[in-house]
């Protein structure tokens, strides 16, 4: 009897009957109303079976009406927006919604994998640790894929997420989490007191339980009271109400994370709107008013579709105007059973019985049950639910013999309540342990995060009038704590109620599987098995049985599970304890955590001022840290990348090349003590550096290993400019800050990064001077005598643009570096290319740069790897003996001075055509290539177009004494074993004549 909303009540509810909606479930078309959840609309259409369980593929229906739902998990939407494991109980209905049941084959009502149920003994707790262990090789290839297929949890789309997500930060005086009666009262008083308030509610409507129960506040229907509060909050400019917003984590210093589902209630987000927004909320105070989650009762086959939580039943009846069944039995161990009977009867649902395991019943309860035409069965229990894909009857125990009552009651709805668990999870995010409260048979908050107050049902208080008062008090207390005069705390009255409960953790004599964790198919028998096998601690119980480890995080399961364990081990629940709740409180889309930062924006990239120019030249870019640097500039005639590199290298050696070196770190140092500072930072001396000169320097870490290298120029008497490698620009700057602020605050200097201020280009090659002559201002003397190697100056180029000119060379050629303010960087590159056209100027990238420096034996990142000392790299003679500097003492540790320590050598393949590979190990000829025979490794390699063969640098034990020796470069990864000659690292122009040309 499905379709056409047969189970919809004629009137009432918070749905908008003027806005009918059409939707599909498993390909079948249904109708619902605006204001429905998918679950409500399915129930209205008589759909009871909505999914199959994780392990046993048992038919499952709808258990709850909220985010705790473990059963009604569906695939929502289609195409790239398909999202598995969506809870039908929180998915808002929209026109055209498509949902599919999951975890079934071939169809929901006939699922062949339900046979798993017959194999249940095989799938008991810890089954995969036991059953599938042997033979071990079968696990990866056979067992695991088989289990994964059977235990499907829906399918992700596998396509890129088409939606936008964003992250935002909000600040407030008071964050109120949950907009039920207590939360609304807190927000109201705090708002009236003038506090900046954020009220976050996971539902799309405010009111919490007041939306689902027929209650009265101050003599009027509670929903009218809610409407009044919502209106008043709307007038307060400092109160921000976030609906569809789940607070998912409590972090340090009053910081909370919340996910706002901005557009999940729509078919797709409106143009430019995000699907979800992750809020970082920084709150001076918070009120946790997150309510409570009802517990199922644990009896045989309690997972049959039609067995629902009583509070959810009332929600469907009252809020959504849906009758979840035609004939109901209510099974409750607390006073809310009567309320459920009354609501069912009022909605026209036949109520067969209220089954209450408690021996006594209040007069009011008896009156309600009688008025509903139902039987009150005191001291009785449901031991089993009957039915397959839907509930058909319940079997009772404890019915007095001879009472004439049939212990099997036909019904299609069982509304159950085992009591309520306060929603304490957020209080545990700082490590607070919830405390057992026997009077409510539930855990209440223990230590809470600083600044948090817990009120209402979340604190274990289930009387409405008290909750309202507590909330209002908390709002006023927050104002007072923040030094603000609090608005008066109103008094509230509500209809009378009681909240007595007798714990019932599992029904004795239950027949059939008694489920505790529905989503992970964990039953009482699994907890019992864990107990027998010694997994008795709650954390062991959890991991051994997977209790509470599904996406619902055991919101309906955990307390029942540990209470059963407590019974089995004859301990109290308090002694047994509870597991630790961690963020996020509810399943959260990864997209929301990423926000804008995905694809090319996943992390920042840095572009040099000449980037667009390089791109126009056909540059291939490569990431160097965050920087995008030109790797090479392929041209149409180049056969391959190597041909491009060769062409660029030869251009530098024979004519002139242009390379963007903006990315090197630049640090401007000024003050009378800069030279002293540099003396302490670098291994070499700086007090003799003249104005207008540049010097190469090496700096060590405290532990004596090389930190970085680079040049420093003296631009004026008290003005220096240091360069660092691209990779270490940040760490060197931090190092300098530490040295100045902590080690030597007495030194009088200031420094600042100017990396970004200047665009800098290397102009290298025998024709470099000819090109440069065309852009320096007339009168600037570039002659070798006037501006020799290692000269530096501040000048102007191209008709007055301020510039810095350095005669330094990484390639070993006559070379200059020219820096101009970054805004001119693009123009300068284009200008130099025009100027150099007649001289054969060629842009070159990192690959050619690497070959050029290899040919000159200059060290770079592969050699400055944090494990080499100045001595290892051949800088021993630079290490001053006339001053102290960072790393000096530690660099003299005996092991670092040992002769067999690997040090820098050049490597040349013996066979002229042989190639080298970086990372190859250096092994003596004739030795077995194993770790014991390892004498060092190859750090950098390249094919030298200049020399016509491959060259490399390496670190070799006692290397400097072994020039001329032949060893093997063995690369087991690439299968290479090449004989190489140990040579000087200076492959090209060892006398440096070209440098000084």
């Amino acid at each position: 009897m499905t379709g056409d909303q047969t189970y919809r009540r004629a009137d009432g509810g918070a749905i908008d009957r003027s806005r009918p909606l059409s939707f599909q479930f498993d390909g079948r078309r249904y109708r619902g109303y605006q204001g429905d959840t998918l679950a409500a609309a399915l129930l209205a259409n008589g759909v009871r079976l909505v999914g199959r369980s994780f392990k046993y593929h048992r038919p499952r229906g709808i258990l709850s009406a909220g985010p705790e739902e473990p059963n009604a998990l569906v695939e929502l939407r289609g195409g790239a927006r398909r999202e598995p494991n969506s809870r039908a109980t929180v998915a808002e209905l929209f026109d055209g919604l498509e949902a599919r049941s999951q975890n079934r084959f071939p169809s929901l009502s006939f699922d062949v994998l339900a046979l798993n149920g017959l194999l249940a003994p095989l799938f008991a707790a810890g089954f995969y640790y036991k059953t599938f262990m042997w033979p071990a090789a079968f696990w990866e290839k056979l067992y695991e894929p088989l289990i994964r297929r059977a235990a499907g949890l829906g399918r992700a789309s596998g396509l890129p997420d088409p939606d936008r997500y964003e992250k935002a930060t909000a600040f407030c005086d008071l964050l109120v989490i949950g907009a039920g009666p207590a939360g609304l009262a807190a927000a109201l008083v705090a708002g009236r007191s003038g506090l900046r308030v954020i009220l976050a509610e996971q539902d799309f409507a405010l009111g919490g339980r007041l939306l689902s129960d027929r209650r009265w506040i101050d003599g009027r229907p509670a929903i009218d009271w809610v409407a009044g509060v919502v209106d008043e909050l709307g007038t307060m400019t400092d109160v921000r109400v976030l609906t569809r917003t789940s607070v998912i984590g409590a972090y340090d210093s009053g910081t909370y994370a919340a996910v706002e589902r901005v557009a999940d209630h729509l078919a797709e987000p409106p143009p430019f709107q995000p699907r979800q927004r992750l809020w970082r909320i920084v709150a001076r105070r918070s009120v946790l008013a997150a309510g409570a989650i009802e517990r199922p009762l644990v009896f045989g086959d309690n997972d049959r579709p039609g067995v629902m939580l009583a509070g959810a039943v009332r929600g469907y009846l009252n809020r959504f105007a849906v009758r979840p069944g035609a004939r109901a039995v209510v099974f409750a161990n607390n006073d809310e059973g009567a309320r459920t009977v009354a609501d069912l009867a009022a909605a026209g649902v036949a109520v067969a019985a209220l089954v209450d395991p408690r021996p006594e019943a209040a007069a009011e309860t008896r009156r309600i049950v009688e008025a509903a035409g139902a039987r009150l069965l005191r001291g009785a229990q449901v031991v089993r639910a009957r039915g397959g894909t839907r509930l058909t009857a319940v079997e009772l125990a404890g019915v007095a013999p001879g009472s004439g009552i049939d212990p099997v009651i036909p019904c299609d709805l069982l509304a159950m309540s085992g009591g309520w668990n306060p929603t304490v999870q957020l209080t545990s995010h700082h490590g607070g342990k919830p405390v057992w409260d026997a009077t409510i048979a539930g855990f209440v908050p223990g230590t809470v995060p600083p600044g948090m107050v817990v009120v209402g049902a979340a604190a274990g208080h289930f009387i409405l009038a008290d909750d309202l008062a507590q909330g209002a008090q908390a709002g006023a207390a927050a104002a007072q704590a923040l030094g603000v005069t609090a608005a008066p705390v109103p008094g509230f009255s509500a209809d009378p109620e009681t909240a007595a409960i007798l714990p019932l953790w599992r029904v004795p004599g239950a027949r059939g599987k008694s489920f505790i964790d529905f989503q992970n198919d964990v039953a009482v028998s699994d907890v019992a098995l864990a107990e027998r096998e010694g997994f008795r601690a709650v954390e062991h119980l959890k991991r051994y049985t997977t209790l509470g480890m599904a996406t619902d995080q055991g919101k309906t399961a955990n307390v029942n599970g540990l209470a059963v364990m407590a019974e089995l081990t004859a301990r109290s629940i308090s002694e047994t304890g509870t597991t630790t709740a961690r963020p996020p409180f509810t399943p959260t889309a990864l997209g929301a955590l990423a926000g804008h930062h995905r694809g090319p924006d996943f992390r920042p990239t840095r572009l040099t001022p000449g980037h667009d120019w390089a791109a126009e030249q056909g540059a291939r870019f490569i990431e160097a840290g965050a920087w995008m640097r030109a790797q090479a500039f392929p041209q149409a005639g180049d056969a391959d990348l190597q041909a491009t590199i060769d062409r660029e290298v030869l251009a530098v050696r024979q004519a002139v090349g242009l390379c963007d070196v903006t990315t090197l770190g630049k640090i401007d140092l000024q003050g009378p003590d800069v030279a002293e500072f540099l003396d302490r930072i670098y291994i070499n001396g700086w007090k003799t550096l003249a104005v207008g000169r540049v010097r190469y320097g090496v700096m060590l870490r405290e532990d004596g290993f090389v930190q970085d290298d680079g040049t420093t120029a003296r631009l004026g008497p008290d003005h220096y400019l240091m360069t660092t490698t691209t990779a270490n620009a940040g760490s060197v700057f931090r190092h300098l800050e530490f040295c100045h602020q902590v080690l030597w605050p007495d030194l009088d200097l200031r420094f600042i990064s100017v990396t970004e201020q200047w665009a800098q280009y290397a102009l290298a090659g025998p024709r470099a001077r000819d090109v440069l002559a065309g852009i320096v201002d007339p009168g600037f003397d570039l002659d070798n005598a006037a501006f020799p190697h290692l000269a530096a100056t501040e000048t102007r180029v191209c008709d007055g643009v301020p510039a810095r000119l350095f005669r330094i060379s990484f390639s070993g050629e006559l070379a200059y570096e020219i820096a101009v303010p970054a805004r001119y960087g693009d123009a300068l590159a284009r200008r130099l290319m025009r100027q150099g056209a007649d001289h054969g100027i060629t842009p070159y990238g990192l690959e050619a740069l690497n070959i050029l420096r290899l040919e000159k034996g200059h060290v770079a990142g592969a050699e400055l790897n944090g494990q080499t000392t100045a001595r290892d790299l051949g800088f021993e003679r630079m290490m001053s003996t006339r001053k102290d500097y960072i790393g000096r003492v530690m660099a003299r540790r005996p092991a670092l001075l040992a002769p067999d320590r690997p040090c820098l050598v050049g490597l040349r393949p013996v066979a002229a055509t042989a190639t080298l590979s970086g990372g190859a190990h250096l092994i003596a000829r004739g030795a077995v290539a194993n770790a014991a025979a390892d004498q060092g490794h190859v750090t950098s390699v390249g094919a030298s177009a200049t020399l016509g063969h491959w060259i490399g640098l390496g670190l070799l034990a006692n290397g400097r004494a072994r020039w001329g020796e032949i060893v093997r470069a063995v690369d087991p990864l690439r299968g290479q074993d090449t004989e190489v000659e140990i040579v000087s690292p200076l492959f090209y122009d060892p006398e440096g004549k070209r440098l000084h040309a």
Binding site: A170, R603, R750, E756, Q757, C798, P821, A822, R823, G825
Partner: protein
């Protein structure tokens, strides 16, 4: 302009589509403009010279340099406190976009006046600077920076040195209420601009063209 002259180029030049984009109803909620032609100089007092530097800057500009994270402004010039004994001097360009030479070459002038008192560094090109305005500007900023933007907390004239995700940024309010200036290192400019403009689409964005 002779062929030999170098033309400056803004960070966003040819990089992002200028004009109105995103939500199209009503006035643009956010207006973003890359501020070009600025002259920026960093001043850092040498040891024990804070007072002398403050006196010299006051004499030069006629405004008293703030000693906390604040901005004071006078006719196209702002003095921004950026740390203990540290300031950033910002001079707006002339209406035609050229540099305001009221104080000559700013770095040179400052070096002359502050010789022996402070380190002075030209930072005009080190930062990309975005002017942000519009009714939703604070909502936009809340998507990038994690500071309290309520104008009662971050008042006109207030300055923040903070983070925008992985970036170091400088943000100041005003002095005109509701107008903000956000800057980061120049090389990150395109990344930050994409983030800002993408985040602004829901509010309706006007991206002002720059050369």
């Amino acid at each position: 302009m002779p062929d030999t002259a170098l033309l400056p180029r803004s960070v966003l030049h040819d990089r992002l589509r200028p004009g109105r984009q995103g939500a199209a109803t009503g006035p643009a909620g956010v207006v973003i403009r890359e501020k070009t032609g600025l002259t920026l100089a960093a001043v850092a007092a040498l040891r024990g010279r804070d007072g002398a530097v403050i006196a010299a800057l006051t004499a030069l500009f006629g405004v008293s340099p703030p000693t906390r994270l604040r901005l004071v402004r006078d006719e196209g010039l702002a003095v921004i406190g950026t740390g203990p004994g540290q300031w950033l001097i910002a001079v707006d360009p002339m209406p035609d976009g050229s540099r305001d030479l009221r104080h000559g070459d700013l770095t040179t002038t400052l070096r002359d006046r502050l010789g022996g008192l402070a380190a002075v560094t030209d930072q005009s090109d080190a930062w990309v600077v975005f002017d942000l305005a519009g009714a939703r500007v604070r909502d936009l900023l809340a998507r990038c920076v994690a500071i309290d933007l309520d104008p009662r907390r971050f008042e006109p004239g207030d300055v923040a040195l903070t983070r925008a995700g992985p970036l170091d940024v400088r943000l100041w309010h005003g002095p005109k209420p509701g107008r903000y200036t956000l800057s980061c290192f120049r090389s990150y400019g395109a990344y930050l601009a994409r983030w800002l403009t993408d985040s602004a689409l829901p509010f309706g964005l006007e991206l002002v063209e720059t050369r």
